[in-house]
Symmetry: C2
Subunit: 443 residues, 2 copies
C-alpha cells in the first residue's frame, strides 16, 4: 500500500466532511493522509452538552488514529497546514512538504466576531473541546462567585448568562443553560438561589433559527420561554465589555457571555487562490473541485455551492458528510477513467434541539416540535455518534440527566480563580433593569 504509484489523497481536517471522505476511500487501493490540528474528531452537534456540563469530552470525541486503527493505507498527521503549492501539488506543513495526487480541503470554520477579535476572550464561541470546557468553567465559576459573595454577606448578585446569536448553537446553549440554573443546580447552593439566574438570548434578526420555517421559529421561541430563557430578537450587539453586552445605548450586565453569532471560513480557503464568498468560503465547481485545479476539492463549511433551486448547500453535518462521500466517489471515478458526477445535496430534513424535551424538526412539509422532535433529535445524534462505547456512555448520561435533572460533568478544571469577567459590581447590578425581565417566562 505504500507503493509510490498508489494514488495519494491528502485530506485536511477530520470533521464530518474529511472523515466521511476518508472512510469511503479507505477500502480502495489508495494512500490517504489525514492532517488535523487536533488528535481527535469532535462530534460538534454535542459540543453544547460539554459546555453545559452534561457530557465529558471523551464521550463526544474520537481519536482519529483510533478510527483508522489497523488501516495501513491511512497516515494521520497531527499538525497545521501552512500553505499550498498547487502547481507542484504539495501541501506545506511547518516541518514537512506533503505531495498529493488529490487534495480534499475540509478545514471548516471558526467564530467570526465581525472585525472585533478583541471580543473573543470576553465572549468565547463554541467550536472545540477546549471552547466547551472554557464555557463550562465560566458558567460554574459564576455560580461559585455569586455564592461566595452572598455567603460573606454581600447579598445575591444577579447572574445573567447572555448568549449572542439565535441560530441552532445559540438556541441549544440558552435552553440548556436555563435548565441547569433552574433544575440541576437549584438545590446545590445555600446562600444564592440559582433559579434567579437570567438566561438571555440575543438574536440580531427578527426570529430565532432563521434557517427554519417561520412556524418552527415561533415554536422554538415559545419552547425557549417555557425553559425560562428571555428571547430578544432584532437585538443588535454593538459592543462586548468585560461582564457586559452593549446594544446601542443599552448595557446588559452579564456574568457569562457566549458568542454564537457568526462563523468565518478557515483561512486556508483564501490560500487556495480560488474565488471566495463574503465569509471566506471557496466558490466550488458543481463537482466540488476548485476552479482551475480539478485535483483539489473543497467540502463542508469551507465550500460554497448553490443548489439547482438557487439555495446554498447548508453548513450542516449531513451536507458535509454527503460532500465527503461524493468527493471520494468522484476521485474513484477519476482513477477508473469514468466521468465525474456533480454533487446534489439531499435534504433529509433537519432537527434543532432547544433543551430538555424541547426541539423542532423540519422534514419537507412535515414540521414537528416539542417532545417528539426532541426524541427524534436524540435518536439521530446517538445513532451517528462515532464509536459504540461512546454511544452507550452518552445514552447512560442522558438517561441519568433526564430522570434526575442532574448534569453529570459539573467539573471546574483548569484555572480555579475567579477572573474579571465575573466581577459584577454593585453598580452593574443596579443598571441591570435596562432590559426588563421577560414576562412570558414560565417558572
Amino acid at each position: 500500500m505504500n507503493d509510490k504509484n498508489t494514488p495519494h489523497i491528502v485530506i485536511i481536517g477530520a470533521g464530518f466532511g474529511g472523515l466521511s471522505a476518508a472512510l469511503k476511500l479507505v477500502h480502495h487501493p489508495v494512500r490517504i493522509t489525514i492532517i488535523d490540528r487536533r488528535n481527535h474528531h469532535t462530534f460538534q452537534p454535542l459540543l453544547y452538552q460539554v459546555a453545559t456540563a452534561g457530557l465529558s469530552p471523551g464521550e463526544i470525541a474520537s481519536p482519529i488514529r483510533w478510527i483508522f486503527r489497523g488501516r495501513h493505507n491511512v497516515e494521520v498527521v497531527l499538525g497545521e497546514v501552512q500553505d499550498f503549492d498547487l502547481d507542484r501539488r504539495v501541501v506545506k506543513l511547518a516541518n514537512r512538504e506533503l505531495p498529493y495526487d488529490y487534495l480534499i480541503v475540509a478545514a471548516g470554520a471558526s467564530h467570526a466576531y465581525f472585525g472585533h477579535d478583541e471580543w473573543e476572550p470576553l465572549a468565547p464561541g463554541l467550536k472545540t473541546i477546549e471552547d466547551a470546557l472554557e464555557i463550562r468553567r465560566r458558567v460554574l465559576l459564576a455560580f461559585e462567585l455569586a455564592e461566595r459573595r452572598a455567603a460573606s454577606g454581600g447579598g445575591q448578585v444577579q447572574l445573567n448568562f447572555v448568549v449572542v446569536g439565535g441560530g441552532p448553537t445559540g438556541v441549544e446553549l440558552a435552553g440548556t443553560l436555563s435548565g441547569i440554573a433552574r433544575r440541576a443546580l437549584a438545590d446545590e447552593f445555600n446562600s444564592i438561589d440559582p433559579k434567579q439566574t437570567r438566561t438571555i438570548l440575543l438574536e440580531g434578526g427578527p426570529r430565532v433559527l432563521p434557517a427554519y420555517p417561520e412556524d418552527l421559529s415561533r415554536s422554538a421561541e415559545e419552547q425557549l420561554r417555557e425553559l425560562g430563557v428571555e428571547v430578544h430578537t432584532s437585538a443588535m450587539v454593538t459592543g462586548i465589555e468585560p461582564a457586559a453586552v452593549i446594544m446601542g445605548k443599552t448595557r446588559l450586565p452579564a456574568a457569562v457571555i457566549i458568542w454564537a453569532a457568526g462563523v468565518a471560513a478557515s483561512p486556508l480557503g483564501k490560500k487556495l487562490g480560488a474565488p471566495t464568498d463574503r465569509s471566506g468560503r471557496v466558490l466550488v465547481n458543481p463537482d466540488l473541485s476548485t476552479p482551475g485545479h480539478n485535483h483539489v476539492f473543497v467540502i463542508g463549511d469551507l465550500a460554497s455551492l448553490k443548489q439547482k433551486n438557487g439555495q446554498p448547500v447548508p453548513g450542516l453535518a449531513p451536507a458535509a458528510i454527503q460532500e465527503g462521500k461524493a468527493t471520494a466517489r468522484n476521485i474513484l471515478r477519476d482513477l477508473e477513467g469514468k466521468p465525474r458526477k456533480d454533487f446534489h445535496y439531499l435534504d433529509k430534513g433537519s432537527l434543532a434541539t432547544i433543551g430538555r424535551a424541547a426541539a423542532v424538526g423540519e422534514f419537507g412539509k412535515i414540521h414537528i416540535s416539542g417532545f417528539l422532535a426532541w426524541v427524534a433529535w436524540l435518536s439521530v445524534h446517538i445513532f451517528f455518534l462515532i464509536g459504540f462505547r461512546n454511544r452507550i456512555l452518552v445514552l447512560i448520561q442522558w438517561a441519568w440527566s433526564y430522570f434526575t435533572h442532574e448534569q453529570g460533568a459539573q467539573l471546574i478544571t483548569g484555572d480555579q480563580t475567579l477572573p474579571s469577567w465575573t466581577e459584577l459590581t454593585r453598580e452593574e447590578q443596579s443598571s441591570n433593569k435596562e432590559i426588563p425581565a421577560d414576562h412570558a417566562q414560565a417558572s
Copy 2:
C-alpha cells in the same frame, strides 16, 4: 439549621478524610462548612486511569455540591485557606473569615521534589485531575512527535517513558503505560512501532512497593516485567533535565518523565503551629486533635499518628476515611457530653494494581497476586467510587478496555504544540544505551 447556636464544624479539604467526616456529621444537628480549592472530590485511586487515557475526568470526580445537594446544613466554599487564628477560632480565606466551633483540617499532601522544585515542570506528579490530563497530553504527544519525525524521514526516535518512584502510584502508572504502548496504540501508527517504547520504573530503595511484604514486592516486579516494564531498584535520581533523568553519571533520555517519588504534607499543617514530622505532617493526639487545641483535628495524609504496634497509620484512603468518621464521632460525643475515644486504625488489607490483570494484595497473612488480586482491586474500587452513574460508566469503560485492549479517553486537550520536553535529539538518542534494555521483559 442556620441558628447561630448550632455547632459549626469547618472542614478543610474534600478528599477521603474530609468527605467521610462531613458525610457522618450531616445527619446531626450541626452546621458544616467544607472548604476546598476544587469544586470536586477526586477519586484519587483512579487518577492514574485518567493519566493513561483509560477514563475521563468526569468519571472519577464528583462535584462537592452535588454530593451534598439538598443538605441545608452544609455550606460548600470554593477557596483557599490562607491562615488560622486558633485563639479566636477563625479560619482565614482571602476575602472572608470563617469562625468555627470545631475545625477538621484534611488538606492532604502534594508532590515533594526534595528541595528541587525546578524539576516539577519537567517531571509532573499525579495528585489532581489537571496533573492527570497533563501527563496524558505528554504521553500522547510523545507518540505524535515520534510519528511525525519518522514520517518525514527522520527515522524512529527511541521513546522512553520514565516513572520515578516505585510506590503504588509509580507501579500502576508504569504498568499501564507499558500496556498502552504495547497493545492499545500498537495498531494506530504507520511510521513508528509503539511497541518499541521503553517504560522504565526507577525506585530508589531495594524493592518496589516497599510498604508491602517482600514476597508481594517480588511478585509486583515480576508482573511489571511481564507487562514490559524495565524495573530498576536502588536507582537514585540525582537530577532531572529537559527530556532526561540523571542518576549520578548515567543520563537516561526520556520523552516523558513522571514523578511518583515523594509527597509533602500541605503547608497548612505548619500554620497550625503544632509539632510536625519531617514531611510536614502534624503529630496529632491519639484522638486526632492537635496538641493544645482540642477543637482542632487533623486527619488523612496531613496527620502523623503511631499505632499501638509502633507502626504509623498509613497514608491510604481507608485510613483517611476511618479517621474522618472517628473524628465526626468524637465531635458528636463532645456535643453529647461524652468522653472522646482514641483512634484505632483497622487494617482491612491493601491492594495495589499494576496493570491489565495484574495486582497484588495483602490481607493479614493472606497474600494474593495476579488476576485474582486484580479482580479484587477492581471490585473494591468500583464499589467505593462515589456516585451510581460514575460506577456504571467506569464499569463500561473497563469492560471495553479489557476486551478490546483499547483506551477510551485518548484525547489530547489543551496545548497541541510539541514542547521541548519531547525534543529528543539525535545525540540523546545515541546516548540511549547507557541503561541497557532489560533482558527479562516479555513481549
